[in-house]
């Protein structure tokens, strides 16, 4: 078992023929991911990386029956592409693209929620189930099939957590980068729920950072709903408060969002917090081998 994707997931790539999509699709196919085709408007009928290219999602659904979409289209077109996938009934949409306007995401998120679909990203490394499927831009080599579920808001920090759990021999059930944007498609809570229900996952690593209240909300959820051990690291403990523009942001977060707030809330809710970035793996070991 794993979460969201496995070797049977049928993946369609939106923006398939672009350079980034080509690079990462090639690596995903090498990894064993079942990519069934791609979409690039105007290039329908061609073959790319040995897979069929379609003009529309509608044609792709009829022809190759994908159930997950991986999006690499440029930021100005992401709203269109996510909605195209969502309206056609794709169950899982992973958007890698960075720089999507926030107001586009407000509209998209509302529609995706109404349809009850899973959207991961944007501005994220994607997700991987080691040994089965890779929908994203993470380096495959650091992963190992195993028992730790990893969720993170940051790309390279996810890799750090993955590497440390691989080096200590635990490996990962699945790893999900939810992205660092203000309005992410999926929250920590959405993914925590999936890991809690996944028998392969024995412990969960949640990597957070300063800003917003996603970690505080997740802490509260963990206290009430997660029976598996959760290990966390929060980046940005030494980041300065920064120049401010007015008060609205501060009022809305009620002064929350600093690393210290997040860490104390997580500890209060029973989460094992690693003091330092280099101690994520060793904290997992301490908790599991107790």
């Amino acid at each position: 078992m794993s979460i969201l994707v496995n070797k049977d997931t049928r993946v369609i790539v939106q923006g398939f023929t672009g350079s980034q999509a080509t690079l990462h699709s090639e690596q995903a196919i090498d990894y064993g991911t079942n990519i069934v085709g791609g979409i690039t408007p105007g290039k329908g009928g061609q073959t790319h990386l040995g897979k069929p290219v379609f003009d529309t999602m509608d044609e792709a659904i009829k022809s190759v029956q994908p159930n997950a979409s991986l999006i690499f289209v440029p930021a100005p077109f992401c709203k269109d592409s996510i909605l195209e996938a969502a309206e056609s009934g794709i169950e899982l949409i992973v958007c890698i693209t960075e720089g999507v306007p926030t107001l586009d995401m407000l509209d998209v998120k509302k529609r995706v929620d109404e349809l009850g679909l899973s959207l991961i990203g944007p501005n994220c490394p994607g997700l991987i189930t080691p040994g089965e499927a890779k929908l994203g831009i993470m380096p495959a080599s650091i992963h190992m099939k195993g028992s730790i579920g990893i969720i993170s808001r940051s790309g390279t920090l996810t890799y750090e957590a993955v590497k440390q759990t691989t080096d200590l021999g635990f490996g990962q059930s699945s790893c999900v980068g939810i992205g660092g944007d203000p309005i992410p498609g999926s929250s920590f809570i959405d993914i925590l729920e999936l890991f809690e229900n996944d028998p392969q996952t024995e412990a969960i690593v949640m990597v957070g950072e300063i800003g917003g209240t996603a970690e505080e909300n997740a802490a509260e959820y963990i206290k009430n709903n997660v029976s598996k051990p959760v290990i966390s690291y929060i980046a940005g403990q030494t980041a300065p408060a920064g120049k401010r523009m007015g008060h609205a942001g501060a009022i809305i977060s009620g002064g929350k969002g600093t690393a210290a707030d997040k860490i104390s809330k997580l500890k209060e809710c029973g989460v094992h917090v690693a003091d330092n970035l280099t101690e994520i793996g060793s904290t997992v070991a301490k908790v599991i081998n107790k």
Partner: protein, 386 residues
């Protein structure tokens, strides 16, 4: 991206919101003509910087003669204004807004922001304006209203009436406010705002609502579709190294320590700073070179880091994902040679071909410490910075 008050008020005027008759000047001599053009016998002169708290810092004055407006402008133009919202260096004043004077009966507070929790644009209103609104939020939360707006339906009249009750507006003012709220929401959506604040929103002695201030923040991701707004960008309000970095697609924030940091990924960059601090050192900066650490980008990053005279050692931390570490190592070496880096450099490479990368670095004739364990690399950098 932040806008100046005068730019925000131009947008307000475009959307039919009540703002004062005003002029912006860049030379002190122009204050005389500006006062005459505006008319009246009293003017408010306001130093334009990207920060709040200007009044308390002396950056806003009420003047009775155009001569006083000139001397205020002379005093501030080209100088830096330090407020409680800026750093100790303050922000450069390169323009002054001169406005007709408004007689104030009441001061209110109104803002709108993209709220991560409700995933909506939320309007925030309070009858307690012009004061420290964060204190009000903490001590008397009942005096503040939060009204989320549905992205597809837009702002509705009932929502305006609900906020108007908390602002204690009369019937006439409520009508005026209803149209204001709809226009503000339209502005927020059409111009891709991420924050809008009117503090204070006042009731004039004539009983009308009036926007005395305008703070606007634009979603930088949306600037590609807001060419007019992109033109309003004022680089003088940013740290020069930060704007230089931004031009090269590098994300840089200057800090007050002495260990220069170059990292790929914002989260890992923060994590690296934390690790330095954990081992007793102080980071000189936050710098994210992005996903592709090519030689060109690494060179530019070195130049920006070394421009800071406090830096005593540079810690490079790259988690090679898709990019191979041996290529990064070669890029780092070439960059060090090109830039002529004389300070000690500690390099930590991890990921794809990391061993090969370290081998290339250790064979080089330059003073580089290649350490693959992040903790050890951070400790070494801290030791070298002492």
């Amino acid at each position: 991206m932040n806008l100046h008050e005068f730019q925000g008020k131009e947008l307000f005027a475009q959307y039919g919101l009540p703002v004062s008759n005003s002029k912006v000047i860049y030379e002190a001599e122009d204050a005389l003509k500006a006062c005459r053009d505006i008319g009246g016998t009293k003017w408010v002169v306001k130093a334009q910087v990207h920060a709040g708290g200007r009044g308390k810092a002396g950056g806003v004055e009420l003047v009775d003669t155009p001569e006083d407006a000139i001397s205020f402008s002379k005093k501030w133009l080209g100088k830096r204004l330090v407020t409680y919202q800026t750093d100790e260096k303050g922000q450069l004043v390169n323009s002054i807004l001169i406005e007709e004077c408004t007689d104030i009966a009441e001061e209110l507070y109104l803002s709108a922001v993209v709220d991560r929790d409700t995933q909506r644009v939320v309007f925030i209103g309070s009858s307690e304006g012009g004061v420290n609104i964060e204190e009000v939020a903490k001590n008397s939360p009942e005096k503040i209203i939060y009204e989320p707006i549905d992205p597809l339906c837009g702002a509705q009249g009932f929502q305006a009436r609900k906020i108007a009750k908390v602002l204690k507006l009369n019937n006439e003012q409520t009508k005026q406010f209803t149209s204001m709220l709809k226009n503000l929401m339209k502005l927020f959506i059409e111009k891709d705002l991420s924050l809008l604040e009117i503090n204070p929103l006042v009731i004039t002695s004539g009983g009308l609502l009036h926007c005395l201030d305008a703070k606007i923040n634009i979603d930088s991701n949306a600037l590609y579709r807001q060419p007019e707004i992109a033109e309003m960008h004022d680089p003088s309000q940013e740290d020069s190294r930060e704007s230089e970095a931004a031009k090269n697609d590098l994300s840089y924030v200057s800090l007050d320590g002495n260990i220069g940091c170059m990292v790929n990924g914002a989260g890992l960059a923060m994590g690296t700073m934390d690790t330095i601090k954990y081992f007793g050192g102080n980071p000189a900066n936050f710098l994210d070179v992005g996903g592709t650490a090519t030689q060109e980008r690494v060179s530019k990053a070195f130049k920006i880091i070394l421009d800071d005279p406090d830096v005593k050692v540079v810690l490079v931390n790259i988690f090679g994902g898709i990019v191979r570490c041996d290529l990064i190592a070669e890029g780092v070496l070439a960059a060090i040679e090109e830039v002529g880096v004389e300070l000690p450099v500690v390099v930590r490479l991890e990921g794809n071909n990391a061993d090969l990368g370290s081998e290339i670095l250790s064979k080089a004739n330059i003073k580089i410490e290649s350490i693959n364990n992040l903790g050890d690399a951070a400790k070494k950098a801290v030791e070298l910075a002492k």
